[in-house]
Symmetry: C3
Subunit: 279 residues, 3 copies
């Protein structure tokens, strides 16, 4: 991937202020809104079935995050998804905790079956569970056995490409090494920080940012998702570099938002560690 | 308005620790609670219809914020509003996203029709939608066409006064220039910072602070709302002045709370840029 | 209590990363998740009745916090509690606002009656309300008449021991002086900071941390709860010491998480002010 695509993808987000409708969990929803604002997008949250069609209509895309789903928000997800599909808006699915409960696995699967999901963003355990694989789980954390490493990178990329081919979605699997793939191409991104697992919401925030990039870059969906994942990873890595001796996850969260807020297309281009993986 | 009224309004909040019952959206609810604590009030949140009458009974006022309403919280809003009205407690309405969906516009209108709302606090697009005007919308953001400017200030103030006369509420319209009006008088407040639009919750926090000021200053409702709006604007402006080169919206949010926490009546008196507008 | 028990209790949390299932209020849920991550545990939130049994099954313990309960989450609490009881997982109950409404008092009482609650963590007004005493209340704050002081310390400790004997739970009553007791022994902890009452969520975060300590230290429940309460108090006290002239409750919240994140067993051992109280 040419560096230019990363810069252009971010610059376009900032130039167009995409309006993103989020049905997401109540744990990290505030961080999600602030992350969207930091990256230059505009968030709106609505999960009431009677409200979501109108809200989706004025937005450019939809996030479906199953982190704290309940019967009512599930209904809202399907109503919003239907409207997004009618309008051709990109839908980004975050299967939080898929594999950890039947309801989560089933709901994520149903959403994927019913709607033309543009992007799936999760950790490897969640994406494997969604793909119908063995559902080892540590709740919302990746199961250590599932972590993407240099050793299993080629196989992981093949899995991502295959799942992309099967679903028609761009598949973004994040962890120590991130993979972003469509049916034909796969990229590894080696930014990030282990501290991102010591705050809640790093994954959820990224999912929302993926939606902003998808809305702003409709003609370059795969590249836009590589850019989104690299932007978040670079922000995490930079935030780690800013940590002083007294700092902990409270400060790390603040730094992460601050860096997303100030991230330029040029800085993303220079800092992103993106490699296209051979078949 | 005499500066003294601003200082007295804030000092009274800090001296009396008003207990404010909030039915508000789950996006910014944590910021709302911390903003109330920062300004010297005490927050309690409850939206369950079976709980809200008891909670409202022990509180001094009620915030109704429609940011993420659902069928269940709407029911809670009406139950709480009824109890607040019985007790003569001030109700502050924040019509978040009115104009963006039928449910939001209708619910805000129904609340306004049914209860003796003391204060309406929103951006101009939301307040216009509530007033039945043309519903241009950018979701929860003000539509650029609706922004209050020096050029349309007199007309905007007249609109605010008219809507106040029609509803019996103090109308607080916030943006680059804030307007606070009752049926007879209107004030412009020129504090604030554009960064307040780059965090989620600046408006929601202000709405809660408006409620705290209303509860603490029952005999000077209009003045108290000018003070609340000026306090938030001054905090935003001061927070912007504290921003360093690496800071973004993460730090801005923290600074905003910190400044509200430390804001004194004297500092408010000195920093507020309040002008009474002629008819 | 030997200092060693405090150090060991925290070290075991960090060594074992207990997975804690939280059904808690939407006001402070983000802080709860970050506090659990800071202390070395792993949070998962789920309140949907159809989801909670599966989630509880993969976790080690359960937090039931009634801060913003509604009919649906109450149902989720009972379903999760049943599963935790089947599995012998510790349940920690936080009766937020018990005494402030019939629904809260009744629900907390029903949970206590139905399940083998391991730990009750609240302020004195809430715990008194739960114990069926006079229900004076300041909403979610302690009523000044109920505050634990040096003058009423012995009587307060006797109350805590009696309530522990009656319920079978460890009782943790937090305030200016904290008390942790089982039926036989009671401890006073004199760490903490008045600033903990100027942020939302200090109590909720502690409740989650109590659960993490209970899960990690099944053979030393009382000691583990003394350690949890001392850890939070020490963090608050240290955070207060870090406050600069411009800092307010925004920064205090960040410092609190940072200090929890960096807190070592040795620092806890050295900083905790724990006294066993004679009968």
């Amino acid at each position: 991937m040419q560096p230019f695509a990363l810069k252009a993808a971010l610059d376009t987000v900032r130039a167009t202020t995409p309006l993103v409708h989020n049905i997401t969990n109540y744990v990290t929803v505030n961080d999600c809104a602030n992350a969207l604002l930091a990256i230059g997008a505009s968030p709106i949250m609505s999960d009431e079935p009677n409200d979501v069609r109108d809200i989706q209509t004025i937005c450019g895309g939809l996030v479906l995050n199953i982190g704290t789903l309940n019967q009512h928000t599930i209904e809202g997800m399907f109503a919003a998804g239907e409207r997004a599909a009618e309008l051709g808006h990109p839908i980004v699915l975050d299967p939080v905790g898929a594999g950890a409960s039947t309801l989560r696995t089933t709901t994520a699967g149903d959403l994927l079956d019913k709607f033309p999901i543009a992007v799936i963003r999760g950790n490897m355990s969640e994406v494997k569970a969604l793909a119908g694989g063995a559902a080892s789980t540590r709740g919302v954390d990746v199961c250590p056995d599932d972590a993407v490493t240099e050793d299993n990178l080629a196989a992981s990329a093949a899995f991502a490409r295959d799942f992309a081919a099967q679903t028609g979605a761009v598949v973004a699997i994040t962890g120590a090494i991130d993979i972003v793939a469509d049916a034909n191409r796969a990229f590894a991104i080696r930014n990030g920080s282990a501290l991102m697992g010591r705050i809640t919401g790093a994954g959820c925030m990224l999912t929302c940012i993926c939606a902003a990039f998808a809305v702003a870059n409709p003609d370059a969906l795969l590249e836009s998702q590589v850019a989104a994942v690299a932007a978040m990873g670079l922000a995490g890595q930079t935030a780690q570099g800013r940590m002083g001796g007294f700092d902990g996850n409270g400060s790390f969260r603040t730094y992460l938002l601050d860096i997303l807020f100030n991230l330029t297309g040029d800085a993303l281009e220079q800092g992103a560690k993106v490699e296209e993986l051979a078949h």
